[in-house]
């Protein structure tokens, strides 16, 4: 990234902060199966009265195309923000079709899914250049030190853009949001269950404060 690009992005971020921009384009990022689409569906259900971003599945890389929904108005404790939300495909450094076959997909289906998943990762990366901030969704039952998490956080820090970590799946007994907090103590984090909606109001408040 050149100095001019860095300067432009940093100035843009500062100007947005100074003038408290109340509209933001935010991306949902994270590894496959962290619950990004479940959360996106929850947000659109709570604030747009219905519809969905996409289907969810136990098979990784269910979302293989980024989906954007515009004009989602979130109100929380007197603050409001209008969001364009981009639900991105799961980021990964490796994609092996054999992993999909373990979930019962036929070989041709698995190979097709793998091909589409690689395209999805590229699409997710391209979107990083066109966002005002990121919700980084982590599976609180998994080790937080994945390279995807490290890379997304490093990129947001380098670009000077706001990042909010969402420790998801707290409905599961093995969830440990504190492990995520201790891994990335410099960033704000909210623990939720996107599936059950627990603590979701705290997330909306944090979104309004963080990206507004």
């Amino acid at each position: 990234m050149g100095i001019i690009d860095s300067l432009r992005m940093s100035l843009g971020a500062w100007i947005n902060r100074i003038f408290k921009k109340r509209r933001a384009k935010i991306g949902l990022y994270g590894p496959p199966n962290a619950g990004k689409t479940t959360l996106a569906n929850r947000i659109v259900k709570d604030w747009s009265g219905g519809g969905s971003f996409g289907t969810v599945s136990a098979v990784p890389h269910e979302t293989r195309r980024a989906v954007r929904k515009e004009g989602i108005l979130i109100n929380a404790n007197g603050s409001s923000i209008e969001l364009d939300i981009v639900d991105t495909p799961g980021m990964a450094t490796k994609i092996d079709f054999k992993e999909f076959m373990a979930f019962g997909l036929s070989e041709p289906e698995a190979k097709k899914r793998a091909k589409e998943a690689t395209e999805g990762v590229i699409e997710a990366i391209k979107w990083l250049d066109d966002l005002d901030g990121v919700l980084l969704v982590m599976d609180a039952t998994e080790d937080p030190y994945t390279q995807v998490n490290v890379t997304v956080i490093g990129n947001m820090e380098a670009r000077g853009l706001p990042l909010l970590i969402v420790a998801n799946k707290t409905d599961l007994p093995e969830a440990s949001p504190s492990r995520i907090k201790s891994a990335f103590p410099q960033h704000a984090m909210v623990s939720i269950s996107a599936l059950e909606g627990s603590n979701i109001d705290e997330l909306y408040q944090a979104i309004a404060n963080h990206f507004g």
Binding site: I3, T93, I95, D96, I125, Q147, T151, E157, A158, A183
Partner: protein, 114 residues
């Protein structure tokens, strides 16, 4: 396994680093970068890896680095100069497996002859 010095990496462009890493990893080598990659280079490496994945030939990479350390002055941060990469290990996904990782240590297992 190739250990590449920070001095050598400093003299290379981003694209040269990414090409060097992928060429080595695709032939089954493990690469250790003394000074790592910048966050932008890491994401471009992942992007290029995705374009080179081929069924039964190359399923991607395992890459492990430490979280970025934020350092430097206000102006360094504005110009992105404070974001320095840290030691990074990269290998073929079917040969390098991360066992454990935290802020200070990365433990990996390398399979030979896969």
């Amino acid at each position: 396994m190739d250990l590449i010095s920070g001095e050598k990496l400093e003299k290379m462009t981003s694209m040269e680093k990414i090409r060097l890493i992928l060429d080595k990893v695709k032939t089954g080598r493990i690469v250790v970068l003394e000074s790592g990659l910048s966050p932008d280079e890491e994401v471009r490496l992942i992007e290029m890896t995705m374009t080179e994945i081929r069924v039964d030939e190359f399923s991607g990479i395992e890459i492990e680095s430490y979280p970025v350390r934020k350092e430097g002055s206000f102006f360094d941060r504005i110009f992105g100069r404070s974001i320095k990469g840290r030691m990074t290990v990269i290998g073929p996904a079917n040969q390098l497996r991360t066992i454990e990782k935290d802020q200070y240590q990365i433990s990996t297992k390398v399979s030979i002859g896969d």
